[in-house]
Homo-oligomer: 321 residues x 2
């Protein structure tokens, strides 16, 4: 009986490749969820149309829109204050997109937006590894690298809502070119799925070492292929993770010396490589920290069910509002 009146929220996680969405209850149960392609939509309008069609059906099955308190959206460069997505390098839509306005007029529900990593951080605080933490940094290692920073128990949005772009900080000045931003040497171009692929290609080109990866066609040389080779002891594949961890660890050390979190929480595809990536990351992090920070900052991997975590994080925004 009571459940008939219980409020629900919608969580939407917009990624560079796909968009996950679902309907979530107060306890963090994802009642329904699905995914559509982000990439195939040349315009935000057609993207929102498809999302609306898919979600309308879910809303009906959940008992109608009267039960929905609101919609939380996590998206790259999503701005909490303005409700816009601005110049997101990994999305097909360029310039400034008034996402909240477009979605509210379509869905007739309140919509709250923040960047995908901020959404993930809120999700971890409500349901995950950061429960009871007041100072932590959430880092998402997917197609790109995102981050959400919590200090004094609050998400740091910055003066304009754009804080937390750790993936774009320059770790190797004059280093690898990021085609999305035009900058050289940002973390994202090394410590993402894209970065792992590029490192593998570079190492294969600059060495004559035998490798299982030489048999993999270039278009299939992704972080999964590198992982599969690494677990078989492939030297080049192992070196790819060593190198990635070395750079990620440096970036983590820099982030720690800035805001001194209790823990760093990692989430996303790359964390599936487990110790292959975590061990060199931790080693490099410790090596770059000054003494006061050494051996006390935890690196945790999100334990939220991966298919749900992105949706949960975004949905948590709708409760907060």
């Amino acid at each position: 009986m009571a459940t008939a009146l219980e409020q629900l929220v919608i969580g939407i996680d917009i990624g560079g490749t796909g968009t996950k969405f679902g309907i979530v209850d107060r306890d963090g149960n994802v009642l329904f969820s699905s995914e559509i392609s982000t990439k195939k939509h040349a315009t935000t309008e057609s993207f929102i149309d498809e999302l609306y069609t898919e979600l309308s059906d879910m809303i009906e099955r959940s008992g109608g829109s009267g039960r929905i308190k609101g919609i939380g959206v996590g998206a790259p460069n999503g701005n909490y204050y303005t409700g816009t997505i601005e110049y997101a390098p990994n999305l097909p839509w360029k310039g400034i997109i008034p996402l909240v306005e477009l979605m509210e007029s379509k869905f007739k529900l309140p919509v709250t937006l923040t960047n995908d990593a901020n959404a993930a951080a809120i999700g971890e605080m409500m349901y995950g590894a950061a429960k009871d933490m007041k100072d932590f940094i959430m880092i998402t290692l997917g197609t790109g690298v995102g981050s959400g920073i919590v200090a004094n128990g609050q998400l740091i949005y910055g003066h304009d809502g754009f804080a937390g772009e750790l993936g774009h900080t320059i770790v190797i000045p004059g280093g690898r070119h990021h085609p999305g931003t035009g900058k050289n040497g940002p973390l994202e171009i090394y410590a993402s799925a894209t970065g792992v692929r590029l490192t593998a290609i570079e190492l294969l080109e600059n060495s004559t070492e035998e490798s299982l990866l030489r048999a993999v066609p270039l278009e299939k040389l992704d972080s999964k292929a590198v992982y599969d080779a690494a677990v078989q002891g492939d030297k080049i594949a192992l070196e790819v993770f060593e190198y990635t961890g070395k750079i990620l660890g440096l970036a983590l050390a820099n982030a720690i010396m800035f805001s001194s979190p209790e823990a760093i929480i990692l989430f996303g595809g790359l964390t599936k490589a487990g110790d292959l990536i975590l061990k060199p990351t931790k080693e490099s992090m410790e090596a770059n920290l000054i003494q006061v920070f050494q051996n006390k900052i935890k690196i945790l991997v999100s334990h939220l069910k991966e298919s749900d975590a992105a949706i949960l994080g975004a949905s948590a925004l709708a409760w907060e509002k």
Copy 2:
């Protein structure tokens, strides 16, 4: 009449070379101030003894210790939560120093400690360039490089009180060695008075270019000498500031992409070089920022009277308590 009852605080700024201290009223007027050497004291005890002797006289002249609400201390690696100075690379005292405990037992007054840059940030918020700002980063460019980060209107202390060590973040991986920390390539070893001197020595060694600096004895080759040569159009001296600004700007860009402040406030000896350092810093900062942050984050130079600013910042802590 009322002034006889007005409360006062003591502000103490402990630096690697000297320690400034003074008595301050509610409006930020520094009533008395002086300075002693930090460097010459091999132990914290002898340092506190000298400080006590000097301050006792000032306290008497201010109307006695009954008028003093408390003491605020800014010091490198000073920890707000524990009241200790831990492993400060630029101070003569090694290990963990229980400064608050030592000072309270000597002065019989409440003592509050934080790192020097956090103290400066609080001072700017109360009396200076950051009045009414909720998100800014204070960076002190002295013998070392310190920083204090304010987000959502609060100082970020981190989970353990050690946040804000931007000077130790690695900007050039594998770069110049920092003898105090053993790390390679931190901001502090480039963008401090020490760093400017090292850059000047490097540039002179690696070039045959004529320079006024070649006539300066090595022990006198400091940032002041470089400045004096630069204002006369000396090419090597100008290059020193260009190089310093390039690295400082990169570090500012990284800090901005992390916490998105409204402004960066610079303070300390290096800022005296004015546009010689600010112009290349700003250029490098903008070049390293992704689009959403470009042309909107201000770089401000602290306008607090330099002799007072460090004392004011530290004293502000005592009001906050």
